[in-house]
Amino acid sequence: MYKPLQSLAVLAACAVLPGAVIANDEVKSLTADANNWAIWGGDYAGTRYSELDQINAGNVKDLQVAWTFSTGVLRGHEGGPLVMGDTMYIHTPFPNKVFAINLADQTVKWSYEPKQNPDTIPVMCCDTVNRGLAFADGKVFLQQADTTLVALNADTGELVWSVKNGDPAKGETNTNAPVVINDKIVTGISGGEFGVRGFVVAYNIKDGSQAWKAYSTGPDDEMLIDPEKTTHLGQPVGGDSSLKTWEGDQWKIGGGTTWGWFTYDPETNLVYYGSGNPGTWNPVVRPGDNRWSMTLWARDADTGMAKWVYQMTPHDEWDYDGVNENILVDQEINGEMRKLLVHFDRNGFGYTLDRVTGELLVAEKYDPATNWASHIDMETGRPQVVAEYSTHQNGADVNSEGICPAALGSKDQQPAAYSPKTGLFYVPTNHVCMDYEPFEVEYVAGQPYVGATLSMYPAGKVTGDGSSNMGNFIAWDATKGEIVWSLPERFSVWSGALATAGDVVFYGTLEGHLKAVDSKTGKELYSFKTPSGIIGNVNTYTHDGKQYVAVLSGIGGWAGIGMAAGLEGDTEGLGAVGAYRKLSDYTQLGGVLTVFALPDGA
C-alpha cells in the first residue's frame, strides 16, 4: 500500500514537535499567523481573508511587480502559492512539479517532478489542472494527477511516503488540493465524466495508511451514513438512502466525485465538501434522485461518519456539480448569531445553511440570469425546475436551448472570499448560458462517459438585455441572499478571490489582469496585466515585514479550453452588441508566478 521512507530529515522534522501536539494544532497556529498563507483558503474556514493591511485601499494604486517566476509548464494554473516563514511552495498542472522557493533571494531550494504515465492526460476531463498543496508535520502534500498522493519533506523535497488513491485506467484522476485535519490528510477523486464512483478518503499523515473512506453513492456502510443519525434537512435519511434512488446497479458508475475544496470547523470537528455530477450527463437513462450526487456533506473528521447531507440538485440534468467551496462564517440572521456555511453552487443558487445542523436558511440566485429553476422550495430543499429547460423532459437527442447557467455553472471551482469587516462575500462568477443535448452512451471502464453535447455563449443572448459579458465579480450578502454590487467582466472570472483587512479585494481575469477593488464599493483601484490568463487564486503573505500579493497565471481549465476557441460561432445572436472577441486575442498559454508589492519607502 505505501512505502514509508526513513530519512533523517523527516525524523528531525518530527522531533521538533512534542509528541502530544497533533498536526491540527500546527495548521491552526500556522494559519493564525497572517504572515503565512498556510492552507488553500488562508484558514480552515476557507474565508480567503487576510488580516494584513499594509497594502490598502489608499495605496494599492502604487502596487508594483516585485518578482516573477516561470514554472515551465504551459497549461491551466489553478490554486495558489503557500507560504510558511521564509519559503514559498508552488505547484503546476500535469506533470505536477513542486518548487520550494527561498523568499530571501527567490532561488529554488528544491523541486520535485513526479514521473507520471501520460495515459493519465486523456482521462482528465477539463484540462490537467491541479489546485495546490497542503502543509503540516514538516511535510508538503501533493495530490498528483495519476491519483498518487505524496508527502514530501518540506526542507529537502525528498519523498517521505506515497499512496495510490485511485486508478487512471478506470478514469480516476485527481485535481484537488488535499487538506490536513488533525493527524490525517483528506482528499477526493475526479472522474465524473468517466463513470467513476466518488469518494472521500483520509490517510494518516505519518505514514499514508488509510484511516477511513466514504463513497458518495451505494450501501449505507460504504458511504459512512447512519440511517438514523445522518440527516437531510433535519430528518434522518433512513436506510438505503442512495440505493433507492438509482435504477439497478447504476450507482456503481454513478459519479458524485469529490474534486472540489475542503473546509473544516475545529469546534464541531466536521469537514465540509460537495459531490459532483451523476454519470452520465444523459439524465433520461438514470431515473431517480441519484443520491448522493450534487450534495453538500458534513462528516466527522476522525471517523468519516456523515452528520448531515443536503442534495442541491436531485437528478441532475445540466452537469451542475456540487463541489464548490463551503465557506464557514458566523453571522447574524434575523437578529440571531448563527454558525453558517455559505456555498455558491454551479446551479446558480447561493446557499446559506446552519453548518452544525444542515438547516437550510437562504437559497437565492446569485446570477439573475439563472432560469432552469424558478426558486428553491425551502421546506423540501428542492429546486422548482422549469419544464422548458428540463433536458430530461425534452428527451434524448433533443437540443434544449437557452439554459442558464451553462454546465460550467454560475461559478465553478474558483473560490470566493469573505471579509468580516464588511460581512460580504466576494464571488468570481460566470455569466454564460448553454444549449444541452443528451444522447445515449455505453459505459466502458476508463473511457469517457458523458452522453451530452453542449454549446455555451454569453448570458445576454438569453436575457436579451444587450449585454455580452461572460463574467461578473460580485459582492454578496449571504444573510439576505442579495447582490450588493456587481462588476461585469468580459470573460468568466475563473480565479480565486482574496479579501484583506486593507479594505481591498483582489481577483484575476481570463485576459490576465490582476485587479484590486474597494471592498465596500467595488471601485477598481489597480489593474496589471500578467503574462497569461489567470485561473489561479490570489494569496498574500509577508516576508521581512513587507506584504506581498502573489498569483499564478496560466490560461486553461474548463473556461480556458472552452472560451479559447469554440465560442466564436455562437455569438451571432448578440447582433449589434457584437463587441465580443475571442480570448486568444487577449492572452496565450503561460505558467508564471507574479508577486506584487508596494515600492520601498511607500
Binding site: 492526460i121 473511457q447 479550453i561 460561432g569
Partner: protein
C-alpha cells in the same frame, strides 16, 4: 443554396466497406465525406454524418485535441493534421492509438461510443480541416 457536394452517407459507408484506401484516394481529388449547405447569408447546415462526428469528437477527442479540433499543448491541431494524413492512416490511428512526442492517444477500437463513428469523425474533421466548417456546434440540415 450553395451546396458543397460530397458522398451521401449511405454511399460512403458502402464504399468504405469495400476498401478504404482506394476511396480515400478518390475522394481526396473530387468527393468529400461531408455535405455542407450554406445560404446566401453564410449560415451553414451539415449532414447527419458530420453532426454525429462533431458530437463524437466533443465527447472523447476534445480533451486533448481541444474544442473544434484546434489542438492543444498535448495533441496537434487536427485542422492542420488532417491535410497530412489519408483516410487509411486516420482509421489506423484512431483504432490502434498513437504515441506522440508529448501525449499518448488511446486506441479507440474497443470503445463502442467511438468505433461505431470513425467515418463520421472523419467527415467532421475533414470539414474542419478543409476550412468549410466554422468552430462551434453545427446545425443539422433538416
Amino acid at each position: 443554396m450553395n451546396v458543397t457536394h460530397g458522398l451521401m452517407p449511405l454511399t460512403l459507408m458502402l464504399v468504405v466497406g469495400f476498401g478504404a484506401t482506394s476511396v480515400a484516394e478518390q475522394s481526396s481529388e473530387t468527393e468529400k465525406p461531408y455535405v455542407i449547405e450554406c445560404d446566401e447569408q453564410g449560415a451553414c447546415t451539415v449532414d447527419k454524418a458530420t453532426y454525429i462526428g462533431w458530437r463524437t469528437y466533443h465527447s472523447n477527442c476534445h480533451v486533448c485535441h481541444a474544442q473544434d479540433a484546434v489542438g492543444s499543448s498535448f495533441a496537434p491541431s487536427l485542422v492542420d493534421r488532417m491535410q497530412d494524413i489519408d483516410h487509411e492512416r486516420f482509421i489506423v490511428s484512431v483504432s490502434e492509438g498513437y504515441t506522440g512526442q508529448i501525449g499518448v492517444m488511446p486506441a479507440w477500437k474497443d470503445n463502442p461510443n467511438v468505433n461505431k463513428h470513425f467515418e463520421e469523425l472523419y467527415a467532421y474533421l475533414m470539414a474542419r480541416s478543409d476550412g468549410v466548417l466554422a468552430p462551434g456546434k453545427p446545425k443539422r440540415t433538416k
